[in-house]
Structures are given as structure tokens and as C-alpha cells.
Symmetry: C2
Subunit: 497 residues, 2 copies
């Protein structure tokens, strides 16, 4: 019995140990798995973030710039004479740098100007109210200050809803409220306040100037230039999408390998960037007008016009979107009709694309293009050809079908088609082709809209005629080479995606 | 002689006085004009701002809320026990209120959480770095602090570029940098720092809680509800635009008086709001997820899905934009063909519009619609009818033209048309109608895209089947009456315009 008990105990113990072991192993395994999972997630996140920076190294540079500006401003703490010089108010210089330093120079300047104006205006008002209140006796002081605080804060908050103020002075209004509150309700005497206000203003100015200097001198990122690159890049994307879409529709089968498929797919969908960049364009245009002249852009460069160009591009892109939708619909077209329309439709596509590309070039070179008028005329005449090709069709419907073969030979001469392509095609089969043609004609009309807005820009910004500028173009004066532009554009693209 | 001199002098004097008078009058006149001009401009500005507020009284309310929050927080200055209670750090409570109080509850909560997390995280890190640095000796202290400042500030700045962090913790990252700088470089001893950090954290929490309470209790403006109103309103606008556009094209001459012209013009262009509200939708969706449950929306309501619905609407709207472009083009259609297509095209337009409207109703009632499937089927069958009407056309082209008159009588029965409308119409004249029909079919396909996204929403948000909810709908439980919704929507519309 005793032996049996011992055996039983041993077995129990073994089971217990084994259970403990299993539990331990499970817990350890679980913890390992959890740690590995977290590490993997973290690794993926870091990798993604790193790629973000590698794709656009200017982001890394911006981070370093922030580090430099903060290190510089922290000298006001470390260097005793500087610290005493601002009466121990160095904190405000640091705060200014942290709050004001933005990605683009325009945003930084906008915020510094806002901060300085808001602070000084509110400072004066606050001291005034404080002075009045302090004369009104101890009883009325908090009442006067409270009421003025309530009214001014409400009014300043409301001003932030007004579009013109929101676009330019939103931050200034907030700083106004902040400073007014701090000055008017702080329990100091007025002469102390004046001293403090003086130091605070001084430190804010120091911080602001430091920010502007670092932002503008070390590899500046100009909002205006970003806008310029975005809009010209979008023009190219729109041109590529348009040409690619028409070519794919009429030459559909030719694209063969996967690689080129991917490339053309990316090109085809480039117009989506155009459709989605409204908010960015508006933000950039608002910031760009704070910037001084840089590169080839003057201080008063008509940045608002870029927003208009963007709008006209979007109008064209939404038509292209409809076109691509129709092409992808079930409704398939007759090959015969497609063949007949092929050359002339592709011509319309190519001509419109070259007009859009010429507009991009015009903007990049900042010259009045000598070719543009010719290209527009060619585009319009191609559209006219497409229209006449369509109008020649009623003659065809009732003709004998044995002439069909001749159509391929004569398709490059649209005026011959009425005699040549005498085939009877059911209406259902021509719907898609007719829609494509009709949308192409509409796109041509909208491309003319883009031409108009770009021409307005060339008038507003005094673009020079091409020939007189040609020599200038290759001089070292022009800081932005087309290659550099394209590089930065690629960055931008990746940023957008 | 003497007399002559005197006379001359008097004349001189008179001339001088007269000249002086003229100058004086001119200066006074100029100053009056300038003052009047400035006053007029100011008056216009104030009037415009006032109208902005009258159109959306919630803006006024928001301003008053800011005033209330600031008045409450300023009690920390006026009331001695409170002032001493936070160790004279009341400034941070005021700053928190000014900086954190935003228009929507979601934005306020987002900023408060960001501010609290950023401050506490940076505070701990800053104190840690300060402690390490203070042990390293006087020589190395500024070096250690400087390097850690540079690295952490750069890293935090970079994190603001990462989309997921930018969408949720942009403000927190900025506050992190700010607090870390202030704590790590301020020349205090660590125990002083701990005290200060404690008070500062405490005042920030007080300010934050005050903001959240005022923002949520006094007429709260929920970002989620705004998004909901925007998206459902846009659905209605899209439906109206679509129906209005088709009706205007096929019934063009019927609209007569100027008043109704203006109304229908506004309705027609409603889709432009859909095209331009991408940025607003995304911002609102980002803020909405910070909000607690409100009205009929849970805490985890799938707000991102509203952005997807918005995207599918925009896809439909851009097709509609192309359609309107084609309708306004020079290419006019044959009246005969237009007449034949009229009833069925208008049916397609009306059916699509009613599907879109039903989707809006579904979203407003938060129910699974029982009618939706039928409406979609009807829309598709109308589109199919349009397709078959088009496919019946080839039979017509060669028919005698004396049957044309019969077409008018039978146009309501599309299946009869192939026998009835036997007229020969040149292709050029049918291009526009064919394009319109083809784009209508494409629009139907895209409306189905909207249906899909809304159905995904109804699954994600667990919409109940209509019948079971019907009784609930009219109970006082549902805080938002349809009327109220429509009112707020009108506000929103005016705001958007």
C-alpha cells in the first residue's frame, strides 16, 4: 500500500511538474511571440517611415533644420549673458521656434509675422485694459477685465471664421487671444507688465528671426516652388493619362509584358493626382504669397492663378475619368468602326497631350511659347477632323460591306473615309466609339480652358517671348534646371502617392 | 504810388487767402473721402462677417463658448485660493484653453488628449535626461542635453510626416518637442522640476477638462454629425443635379421664368459641392473618431466609411460633370432622336436619382432600406431599356421618313419605338444623344458603386432592418429629427458655398 501511495505521489508530482513545465513553456512561448509581434510591427513602421524619408530626403533635412534651430535657441539658456540679456524670458524664444518652424518657408514666415503682430497688438490692448481696470478700483477691476476678455476673445474667435482672415491670419488671431488673456488677467502692476512685455516681445522676435534665417538659408523649401512643381507635374500627368488612355483603347492588344503594363497603368491613372490635389494647391497658394522672391519668382508672383490652372485641369481630368469609365464598361465597340476612328482619335489624343505638355514647358521656362498657337490650332483641327469623320458616317450605313477592307488603307485621310469605309454597323456597336469621340471633343474644349488660364498666368507674371529669353535659359542665372525640377517632381509624386 | 502798392498788396493777400482756402477745402475734402472710403470698406466687411454668422448661428455660439471657457479659466487668477492651489502656474490653464478649444468637439478632444499625452511623455523624458546630465558633471551637461534635444526634436519632427501619426498625433508631437525643450534645458534642479512639472500637468489637465466640458455640454458641434450631414446632403445634391440635368436636356424649353431658372441652375450645379468636399470629409472623419457616442452614433461608428462613400460619390459626380459638359457643347442633337430617347432617358435619370435619395434616407434613418433593392433593380432595368432602345436603332436608319410623326405618340412605350420611329437621322446629329445615353449608363454603374459603399456602411454600423426600427424612428429617443437635420444641412450648404 505504502509503495503504491509513493508511486501514486510520484506520478502526481511528475504530472504536476510536467503541467508546470507546459504552462511555463506556453507562457514563455506566448511572451516570445508577443515580443516578436510587437518588434515586427515596430520594424515595419520604422521601415515605412524610413522609406518615406528616403523617397523625399528634404523631409530629413527639415528635421535636421528643426534640430539646428532649437540648438541655436537653447544657447539663450546655456550662455549666461544671453540668458540675463532677455531677463530670463528665454522660454518664449524656445516656444516660438517650436511652434513657428514649419516645413515650407512660406508657412514659417506666415506664422512668425502672425505671432509678432498678434502678440504686439494684444499686448498693447491688454496693457491698456489693465491700466483702465486698475484705475477703476479693486471692486470693478475683475469685472472690467472679465467683460473685455469675454468680448475680445469672442470677437477674435469669430474673425477666424471669416475666409480672408482664416487664410492669412488664423494663427495671429489665436495668438492675439492668448497674449491678451495672459497680459490682461495676470496680476502684475502696469510698469512690471511693460518690462515683461518688452522682454517677451524681444524674445519672440529673436526666435522668429532665427526661424526665418534657418528656414530660408539652409536648403529652403518654398511653398511657391512646391506649388509650381505640383501644377506643372500634374499637367504632365494629365497629358500622359490622356494619351495613354486613348492609345490603350485603340491599340489595346499591343501592350504585352507585365512590366510595361504596370508602367502604363501608372501613367493611365496619373490624372487621379490631378483630381485630388485641390486642397494642397490652395494651401500652398496661401502660403506662397508670404514668401520673398526666390529663384525665378518675384515677391508678387500671381500664385492664385496656379489654383485656377488647377481647377481647369480638374475639369479636364473629370472628363477623362468619365472617358476611362466608358472605355472600361461592358459595352464593346465594333472593331471596324474602331479601326476607322483609330488614327484620327489617337491624333486628337496626342495633339491635346502635346498642348498640355507645351503648357507645362511654358510654365517651366516662364516664356510665352511660340509653338503653343500652332499646337492649339492643330489640336482643334484634329478635333474638327474627328467631327467630320463622324458626320461622314450617315452615308455609310446603307452601303455594301465589301468595301470594308479598303478602310484600313485610307484611314489616315479622313476626308476619304466617306467613300472608303462603306460598312453597315449596328448602332449599339458604335455607341462606345461615338461616346469616346464625343468625350475627346469635350476634352479638347476643356484643354482650351487650361490654355486660357495658363495664358492669363503668362500675362500676369510677364512671361517673356521665347526668343528673347532663350539665351537666358541656359545661363547659370536660372537656379532651377529642368532636371532638378523633374527630380523634385518625382519626390513630390511619391509624396502625393 | 503808395496807394497802388497797397492795392497790389491787398490783391496779393486776397489771392493768397483764396489759394489757402482752396487748398484747405481740398485737403478736408480728401480726408473726408478717405475716411468715408475706409468706413464703407469696414462696414462692408462687418456686414459680410455678420451675414456669415447669421447664416450659421452655431458660429456665434462657438465664439460665446470660447468666451465662457476663458472666463471660467480666468477664475484661477482672480480667486486667490485657486491661484495658490496651482502654485502660480494658472498661465498654463489659460494657454491650454486658448490653444485647445476648437470648433468641433472631436477637434477639442483630439487636441486635449494630444496635449496631455505629449506633455506627460516629454516631461518624464525631459526630467530623465536632465537627471542623467546633472550627474555627468558641469562640462558634459550641456553637451548631453544638447545632443538629446537635437535627436529627439528631429525624430519627433519626422514623425509628423508619417501619415498615421499626422492624422492623429500631429499636435501631440509638437507639444512633445515643446515640453521636452522647456524641461530639459531649463536651469532648475530636478526636485524643483518635479514640482513644476506636477503643477503644470495639473493645470493643463484642468484646462483640458474645462474645454471638453464646455465643448460637449453647451450646444456641442460633433465632427461626426457634421460629416454625416455633409455626406447625406451631398447625396441629395448629387441626386438633384443628376435629375435636373437630364430633365433640362430633354425638356430644355419648358423652364421659363427667371426665378425658377435660378433655382434649377443652383440645383444643377449642386454636384460641384460633391467634387470639392474631399478635404473636409477627410478632416472630419479624422476628428470624428475622437468623439464619444452621441445622438445615434456609437463611439466606434465607422466614420472612415463615409470617406469611401464620398469617394464613390465624387466618381459619379465627375461623370455627371462630363455629361453636363457634353450637353453644353456646340454639338446639337436631332430633335427627333431626342424625342425618342426622352422618356426612357429621363426614367434612367429619375431612377438613379431616387436610388441616391433612398441611400440618403437609409443613412438618415440608419436602417436597412427595404425599397433599395427594388429601386436598384428598376434603375438597372431602365438602363437596360435605354441600351435596348439604342440597340434597336440600326433597324431604323433605312426606313421611310413618313412614319416620323407616329413616334411622338408612342414615345412612352420604349418597346414600340423600333417599329414606330423609323426615320433616317444623320450620325452627327445623334452623337450628342448617344453620348448622353452612354454617360447615363456609366452613371448608373457608378451609382451602384455608391450603393455598395453605403451597404458596407450599413453592415459596419449594424443598421437594423426598416420595419423593426420604424416605431423607434418616431420615438423621442432619436435626438435628431429629420427637420432639424435638414435645417442644419441648409446651414452647412450655405457654409460650403
Amino acid at each position: 500500500m505504502a509503495c503504491g501511495k509513493e508511486v501514486a505521489k510520484e506520478i502526481e508530482w511528475r504530472i504536476k511538474v510536467e503541467e508546470d513545465d507546459t504552462l511555463k513553456r506556453r507562457v514563455v512561448g506566448f511572451m516570445w511571440a508577443a515580443t516578436a509581434g510587437v518588434a515586427l510591427k515596430l520594424w515595419k513602421f520604422v521601415k515605412k517611415a524610413w522609406e518615406l524619408g528616403v523617397n523625399d530626403p528634404r523631409k530629413f533635412i527639415h528635421c535636421l533644420k528643426v534640430g539646428v534651430a532649437l540648438s541655436l535657441v537653447s544657447l539663450f539658456y546655456y550662455w549666461k549673458p544671453l540668458y540675463d540679456g532677455v531677463g530670463g524670458n528665454a522660454m518664449w524664444a524656445v516656444m516660438t521656434v517650436v511652434v513657428v518652424f514649419e516645413y515650407t518657408a512660406g508657412a514659417t514666415i506666415c506664422k512668425t509675422v502672425n505671432r509678432m503682430c498678434g502678440t504686439s497688438l494684444a499686448g498693447f490692448l491688454g496693457i491698456g485694459v489693465h491700466w483702465v481696470a486698475s484705475r477703476a478700483g479693486e471692486q470693478f477691476e475683475p469685472i472690467i477685465i472679465g467683460i473685455s476678455l469675454f468680448l475680445l476673445a469672442s470677437a477674435a474667435t469669430f474673425s477666424r471664421f471669416i475666409p480672408t482672415i482664416k487664410a492669412r491670419f488664423d494663427y495671429g488671431a489665436m495668438i492675439f487671444i492668448l497674449t491678451f488673456c495672459l497680459v490682461s488677467i495676470s496680476g502684475y502692476r502696469v510698469d512690471e507688465l511693460l518690462d515683461m512685455a518688452q522682454y517677451r516681445m524681444f524674445t519672440i522676435i529673436i526666435g522668429s528671426i532665427l526661424c526665418i534665417i534657418v528656414s530660408v538659408i539652409i536648403r529652403p523649401i518654398w511653398a511657391g516652388f512646391e506649388l509650381f512643381v505640383l501644377v506643372t507635374g500634374n499637367l504632365d500627368k494629365l497629358a500622359n493619362s490622356l494619351q495613354c488612355c486613348v492609345a490603350q483603347y485603340f491599340d489595346g492588344s499591343e501592350a504585352s509584358d507585365e512590366e510595361s503594363d504596370k508602367v502604363s497603368e501608372k501613367e493611365l491613372l496619373g490624372y487621379k493626382c490631378v483630381l485630388s490635389s485641390k486642397a494642397t494647391e490652395e494651401a500652398m497658394a496661401n502660403l506662397a504669397r508670404w514668401e520673398p522672391g526666390h529663384g525665378r519668382f518675384n515677391f508678387r508672383h500671381p500664385w492664385r492663378q496656379y489654383v485656377k490652372i488647377g481647377a481647369s485641369m480638374r475639369s479636364c481630368a473629370s472628363c477623362l475619368d468619365a472617358l476611362i469609365g466608358c472605355i472600361n464598361s461592358d459595352n464593346k465597340a465594333s472593331d471596324e468602326m474602331k479601326k476607322n476612328m483609330r488614327s484620327i482619335s489617337m491624333k486628337v489624343g496626342a495633339k491635346s497631350a502635346s498642348v498640355i505638355r507645351e503648357l507645362a514647358t511654358t510654365m517651366r521656362n516662364m516664356t510665352k511659347s511660340s509653338k503653343l498657337d500652332i499646337l492649339v490650332t492643330e489640336m482643334n483641327s484634329a478635333a474638327q477632323d474627328l467631327r467630320s469623320l463622324l458626320s461622314s458616317y450617315p452615308n455609310l450605313v446603307n452601303a455594301p460591306s465589301h468595301n470594308a477592307k479598303r478602310s484600313a488603307q485610307t484611314e489616315t485621310a479622313p476626308s476619304d473615309i466617306p467613300q472608303a469605309a462603306k460598312v453597315e454597323i449596328p448602332l449599339l456597336q458604335i455607341i462606345q466609339v461615338v461616346t469616346v469621340a464625343s468625350l475627346l471633343i469635350e476634352i479638347v474644349a476643356r484643354v482650351e480652358g487650361i490654355v486660357e488660364t495658363v495664358e492669363e498666368l503668362s500675362d500676369l507674371a510677364n512671361f517673356q517671348p521665347e526668343k528673347r529669353v532663350k539665351s537666358k535659359q541656359h545661363s547659370p542665372d536660372s537656379k532651377i534646371s529642368p532636371d532638378q525640377q523633374i527630380d523634385e517632381e518625382t519626390d513630390r509624386t511619391l509624396q502625393m502617392v
